[in-house]
């Protein structure tokens, strides 16, 4: 078995009396899409937060590329190649679409401490940024203000920014939320492609997407892992059906 790119070991997080994550262990292996599903409030975003460094775990460890990153800041993790998207779009709304991706590319290239050279004239960076837009199909909107594009378009931009980081692993919190049927299809195709570049930890409620993309699925309920396994195993797991899927599928 290949070494996992990213793994958590018995992560526990409490908010007061509420246990949002309890001893959650999972891993992300090269080339795979690992879906994380579970009812609302099950603790998926909390787990993502801890993996990316925005939330400090109460117990447990996070490993990334073979190193223990539990004590590292979000920044350090991002710089070593952890690319994330947010459940609620986090974009510079006053800046143009292109500027948002350029910023990502700059962050990855570490060229932000330049005070006099125009950012948009750095061709390597710009190329990388434009490529990312191209891949999510936003090239036409590059010069619009991010505040002026629609919700669905912003979701794609969110993915584009993560792309600019050329990450070693993606962590995506509901990237399909708000996308239309068409958009979902396109983004699904994109993610399918992306897994070649870096494995994806995918939080998603759209079961069609999950079942078509995921190599493995982990199900959280009340903060605990109630099942991990292949698509087929999860689909037929009675507890998962009751707690999450309902009669669907």
């Amino acid at each position: 078995m290949t070494e996992p790119v990213l793994s958590t070991h018995a992560l526990t997080k409490r908010f007061g009396a509420l246990v949002a994550n309890e001893a959650v262990s999972l891993d992300l292996r090269p080339g795979e899409v690992h879906a994380l599903i579970g009812p609302n409030g099950a603790g998926k975003s909390t787990l993502v937060g801890q993996i990316c460094g925005a939330i400090k775990p109460d117990e447990g460890r996070v490993q990334f590329l073979g190193r223990d990153v539990t004590e590292q800041s979000t920044r350090t993790r991002a710089r070593s190649g952890l690319g994330r998207t947010f459940q609620i779009s986090a974009l510079a709304m006053e800046d143009s679409v292109l500027q948002n991706v350029v910023l990502g590319a700059m962050g990855a290239a570490g060229t932000v401490w330049h005070f006099l050279r125009p950012a948009m004239k750095d061709l390597t960076i710009r190329q990388k940024a434009e490529q990312a837009l191209e891949r999510v199909g936003l090239s036409d909107l590059a010069s619009l203000r991010t505040g002026e594009i629609s919700h669905g378009q912003r979701r794609r931009l969110e993915v584009a920014v993560a792309l600019t980081l050329s990450p070693k692993a993606f962590v995506m919190d509901e990237p399909m939320a708000g996308l239309g049927a068409e958009g979902t299809r396109e983004l699904t195709a994109l993610l399918d492609e992306l897994r070649q570049e870096a494995p994806i930890l995918l939080v998603e409620h759209d079961m069609d997407v999950v079942f078509s993309l995921a190599d493995r699925i982990t199900v959280l309920n009340y903060g605990r892992v109630i099942a991990t396994g292949s698509t087929a195993e999860i689909r037929s797991d009675p507890e998962v059906r009751r707690a999450y899927l309902g009669e669907e599928s």
Binding site: T74, A92, E94, V102, M106, A119
Partner: protein
């Protein structure tokens, strides 16, 4: 050329034409007034680096302004009274040379901004406004009650400091010095806004968690912005003290901080030339309205109010339309 650059060019032309016109018609006071506007604009441009790009609404910029002022006051005071500034293992003398004074003012402003920034950047929003105000007030009360350099009375410097090759006592020459400095800082500000640092800072204002997720430290970005900003405002403080040949704690007062902010808003937030337009208009209004009635401040208030209510985007906005911050 966009409409905003036309407005900027017009302001720039005014800053050249007015003092030259005054020189031609022998109205030295107009030059003095223009110098005042330019120096205040410089201070506000300093603030605008932090505020316009980084969204750091600092209500304590008087601290850096005052530090610049006192850098000039203290150095020149020791030079004019032939007393050493510091005696110990080595002796530091005062000086009346502008370049040295500027350097000290810039470093003083930057250092103060660094320390204040380290402490206050933990807070955001209104809390940031108030904690910067608190630091400003500390300086204010300290200088008022600390007797060594005149306390509330301040320090008078009898002769303006010198700049090699110039006679700074001639109004137009001193104006030229200030104007060149303003242009240099504006150029720097324009470049900065488009540079990677400016882009990142701008994003750090809007979505700090995103900036963090691409591997940058938003607080460090803001701290650097604040230090640059403090340095520029410190320089302006030194010039302001030289213009008046006088420093006093009022340079540290919260009204001073407030005025710098008013210049920016009046001129147009987020505009390169906003602080310049704001300072020019404010100084002009003060001059024009000053004599008309005992209650002239009420008229000033009414005018300011009209600008806020009906001139969206400040003065520059009125003439140049909506802001665009990308190319």
């Amino acid at each position: 050329m966009s409409r905003e650059s036309i407005v900027n060019a017009a302001l720039f032309a005014l800053l050249i034409a007015v003092p030259l016109g005054a020189l031609a018609t022998d109205e030295p006071f107009i030059i003095t007034l223009a110098t005042r506007a330019v120096i205040l604009a410089l201070a506000a441009v300093g603030l605008n680096i932090a505020l316009g790009i980084g969204g750091l609404v600092s209500l304590g910029h008087a601290a850096y302004f005052g530090i610049g002022g006192y850098a000039m006051g203290i150095l020149a005071f020791h030079a004019q009274s032939y007393t050493p500034l510091f005696e110990g293992p080595f002796v530091i003398e005062g000086t009346k040379l502008m370049p040295i004074i500027w350097l000290v003012a810039i470093c003083g402003g930057a250092l103060a901004a660094f320390v204040i920034g380290l402490l206050s950047l933990r807070t955001t929003g209104v809390y940031f406004i108030m904690i910067t105000l608190a630091f400003g007030q500390m300086f204010y009360f300290f200088t008022i009650s600390w007797p060594a350099y005149g306390g509330e009375d301040g320090l008078s410097i009898y002769v303006r400091n010198s700049f090699p090759g110039l006679n700074t006592l001639v109004p137009i020459q001193f104006y030229a010095v200030c104007f060149v400095l303003l242009c240099a800082v504006l150029w720097f500000n324009a470049r900065l806004a488009r540079a990677p640092f400016g882009l990142a800072l701008n994003a750090a204002r809007q979505v700090p968690h995103r900036v963090e997720a691409i591997g940058l430290d938003p607080v460090r970005l803001k701290l650097v912005a604040l230090v640059i900003s403090g340095a520029v405002t410190g320089l302006a403080g030194a010039l302001f003290a030289d213009l008046n040949r006088f420093v006093s704690p009022t340079m540290f007062s919260w009204q001073m901080s407030g005025e710098l902010m008013v210049f920016i808003i009046l001129g147009g937030t987020g505009r390169l030339f906003g602080p310049v337009a704001g300072a020019m208009l404010f100084v002009l209004l003060e001059y024009l309205l000053g004599g008309i009635s005992d209650y002239w401040l009420a008229f000033l208030g009414a005018l300011l109010l009209l600008v806020v209510l009906y001139g969206r985007g400040g003065l520059v906005g009125i003439f140049a339309g909506k802001a665009r911050n990308h190319d």
